[in-house]
Amino acid sequence: MNPVVRGLAIYLFILLWFRIVGKRSLAESTAFDFVLLLIISEVTQQALVGQDYSLTGSFILIVTLITTDLLFSLLKENFPFFGKVTEGLPLIIVNEGKPLLKRMRKSKVSEEDVLEAARIIHGLQKMEDIKYAILEKSGDISIIPFRASAVLEKKI
């Protein structure tokens, strides 16, 4: 199969698949998630290259993937809605120390995930210490503690 077609098919398939599975699948939250991503990359590499180990074949694939990515970023820049659909949007999952359970369940985020992020980033101990927790586009959880929020509000 033509390497351009193969590269495009793999790019679009992975993009669609990760959107379907959800952004938390990219977060590498456990060691197993990390291993899973490694396995996926290995399988993808085999599907991309096939039996073509030539230098030209790899050049074509690299150019195909980078150009597709560039085209997508141009599309996202010119059509913000396209970016929202393909990359998703941030989502508030804790508001004023209260976990928004429906949002968390839908996004496959547990309270433990939020508390873990709060411990790692700010050394916070309890949910009540978190003013906002946001599930970012990357699948990471960002935490805004009450004390930082107070500084923010003062500045505003």
């Binding site: 959107r19 659909v85 946001i134």
Partner: protein, 165 residues
Amino acid sequence: MKGKIGRISSPLQLDEDINLHVTGWVVQRIGWSVMFIFLCLAALGFFGDGVLSEKTIAADGATISFERFLRRENDSVIEINASGVDGTMEVTFAPDFNKTYQIEAVFPEPAEQTILNNETVLAFPTEGQGQITLFVKVRKETIGRVTTSLKVNKTNFSLSHYVFP
């Protein structure tokens, strides 16, 4: 469903389009169903190597087992079971067979191989009317629906496949 998850007003400079999130969650659930169906079909052999893919055709005492669904650049085995006629079992590959497949291996190896009118004829010695099972390992390079034919002791068999990319 959209009414159940409300908007949050916060001082955060955040583009949080909750309606788009809700639509995304619905699409995700549909996607999960598609993923599950895909997995079931794959496990059953819709993309090769499984119950749905196996096919056996028989005529004049000979049987051929092959896979209906193949994947490109993936090996597949065609199993031919037939009895000898006058001490020889003959398998004839039509020109379209050679065009369609890349024959990787034939086991057992033929005692004789001849090419007649662009047809490849493989001959296998048998003891009188003895049965012989032949394994032909093939690889498909193109994609889509393919129909090809081969003869076992002058009996024509038509093999139809769908090759996935």
